[in-house]
Amino acid sequence: MASPVVIKKEKVDEPRPSPSADAGEGQTEAEIECRMIELMGEFPKGINDKILETDMPNVDKKVKVAILNRLLSQEKVNIFRAAVTKELFWCLKQQPTSKLKGVDSEEKIVMRIIEEAGNKGIWNRDIRTKSSLNQTTLNKILKALEGKKLIKSVSSVSAAKKKVYMLFNLQPDRSVTGGSWYSDNEFESELVDVLNQQCYRILQQKAEGAKQKPLEGPLIVRNASFLSSKEICQIISDLKIVKFNLTVEDIETILDTLVYDGKIEMSSTTDGYSDGQVKTYRTVEKILSSAGIVRIPCGVCPVIKMCGTVGAVQPKNCVYYDQWLD
């Protein structure tokens, strides 16, 4: 006795919903937006039209454009044009947009200009030309932004009255503050002089030490009196004369001034350890102790041009000669 088995046939779901099944209306715009943002997260360098096409081929181009424009206006994405292929790329904006809430569009423009200037800062007049805003409006905006602690003004060392604006939390660039030798926009000549004398003394001591062993020959004596700029930097840092860190480039600028004083000479040698040229320095004696002419008063006389056989300035009654001969 077998009764026939009846298998109920039920409708089975498709294992994967085919793209054609969900048309544009099925996916909401929010979902498309989320998907786009996900894609931009996957491709941090930016997505272009091709990637969007492969991912959601059925979404209408008009819808995509509308969503992208909305994201742009919400300042969640940035749009770029590739240099070579001239294609358009969109990528997520790095900064959180919450900071710019509460500012209006004019301020936004000014903020963007200042941001682009990076850590070199931008001058008042340049902001005006770039944003083509009114002088008074611009001043009001800048004051408001400064009050909100979003930007700050830094006075440049090259022109004392000129102020450049940059974002609040950025460090000003070396060209604005002048580097290690400027503090409060003033050139610290005493510090430079002190370091100058210190470096010269270090090199002198090295040369003295080298001269103590003349029996080994002059070549050894000469080579032993060389010091490289790195070593000098190390010695000076150990002496702790300056509060901030001195780099090798800083020390090299000081040593260059000594070269131009005629007290030391530089030679470039290749170091066994590092690649490239290493600058080494040693003291040198001038080839002439002093010009003979400066030992008589006429050589350093400030009124030599007025001196003659007649007139107020004559060698016969010259006061400088009187002082010198006593």
């Binding site: 000549s189 002059p218 005629g262 001038k286 080839i287 400066v294 030992r295 008589i296 050589g299 001969l325």
Partner: protein, 522 residues
Amino acid sequence: MPPFTLGHFSQVCCQLLNHYFGEIVGQVGAYLLRRGHRPLFDIPCATGLSIAEVKKALAVMIQHNLVKFEASERNNNIAEYSIIHHNVYCLLRYPKYLYMIKRIYGTSEEILLEILLNLGQASASNVIFQSANRLKEANDDSEFSDPSALHKSFLKLAQDNFIIRCPKLADNANIQKVPTLEVEEKEKFTVPHLEIGPIAKLLKENATQLGEHGDSEVIWRVNHERFDVELRNVILVNAAARRVDATAGELYHLILKLWRECSNPDSPTTNALSFNVIKDAVRKNEGSSPVLLEHFEQYLRVLYEDTSSLIIRVGDAGGGQFVLNYSTVFENLACATLDSIVLERFGSKALRLFRLTRIQKFMEQDQMQNIAMIPAKEAKMFTYKLLEHNFLQIKELKKGTSNFAPVKSFILFHVDLPQVARTALEASYKGLFNAMVRQMHDLTDNKRLLDKHARLETLLETLRGEGLPEDELAYLSDSMTAAEKSLVARIHSMNDHLTLGQTQADDTILILESYLKFSSMT
């Protein structure tokens, strides 16, 4: 005479002529310095002297190699006289010559040179005779009458080219109205055969004049160029000693001697010496220190690797070929001189700016103050001070070619080394002249006092020689008060001070003149 102002160099020459030869020669010399080549008849008209005095003055100057004559271009029968500037200037250096000869050789050579400088031009026998006389007087030794040692010294001086033969009358001189003088190249330093016998005889007889002698046609004079070379060598050896150490100075002195023997003195570069030749010379030289012998190669290497271009290595044959290029080494010395002048006049910051501009060739104001690390205000002040005194020069480069708007231009500073050297040289001549004027003024102001003092001293000497008792001498010497005596002492020390100053100014002048001479040769 129209009151044209003489240049500084000519003023120095005038002053020297006045000092050493007197007013008349000084006046004639001043006229010739002002006017250049002049025939005989112009000089009395212009100077107001009589023609006999002018003739005598010219004769004296020709005898001392200060004036030369040649046939005028317009009329072959008239002789025109002109000053030999360098020789007049070298009158200042005579004490240096004597000191150098004494240092290199010894006293007898020094006496020979002194006699020759006093006579101007003389034959060898005459010089030897007079020197022997002088030595006899100095030593009070009547037995010293052997002039053959002096003859040897004379030969040595001629061999090393410190003295040179004067040109003699050319063969066709009798035909021309104005005689020409010439001397052959190979005969310039050859001493003719002298007869010592007659000289010795005359010395024994205490004669004062030589009279006729065999070589009276062969006349000698001092070779100024050779002494200049020697003075330059002293400066170079000092530079080497300062740069490395004293032993290096020794080595350099030897090498300079070798170069002089193998090269032409007029060329700006010496001939190349090979390493082996130098090594042999060092070994053979008795005076070399043991340090030099041991580390000879190292010293040579340190010298030629030095940046002051004292020795330049040009090739590898024979272990290394070495030359001296006078123009580079004197450029370095001139730069050191100018640096020293800037340092003393304006200060060390100005020196830094000057050297920076000279080394980097062309610089803008901003670059200068950044690289030199001098505050902006000070840098600007020193730059413009240097510009005012002509140590720096300006070159303007225009940027942009707009026809309407004012064009921005770069202003670059640079150092035109020959120009700055010439300015410094003129200033040195002026300083030297001032020192001489001051010295002359001090001496003439106090002439009466100095004469009185000199008379008193000679009187005391002679009386002391005759054996006068001391208290009488003390009484005589009290005729001058202590204040006067101290004043005289002070005048003498001032005089010495000024002479020393003139010598030092002459050093600077030598370096700058040599630089300009060698840089115009290349």
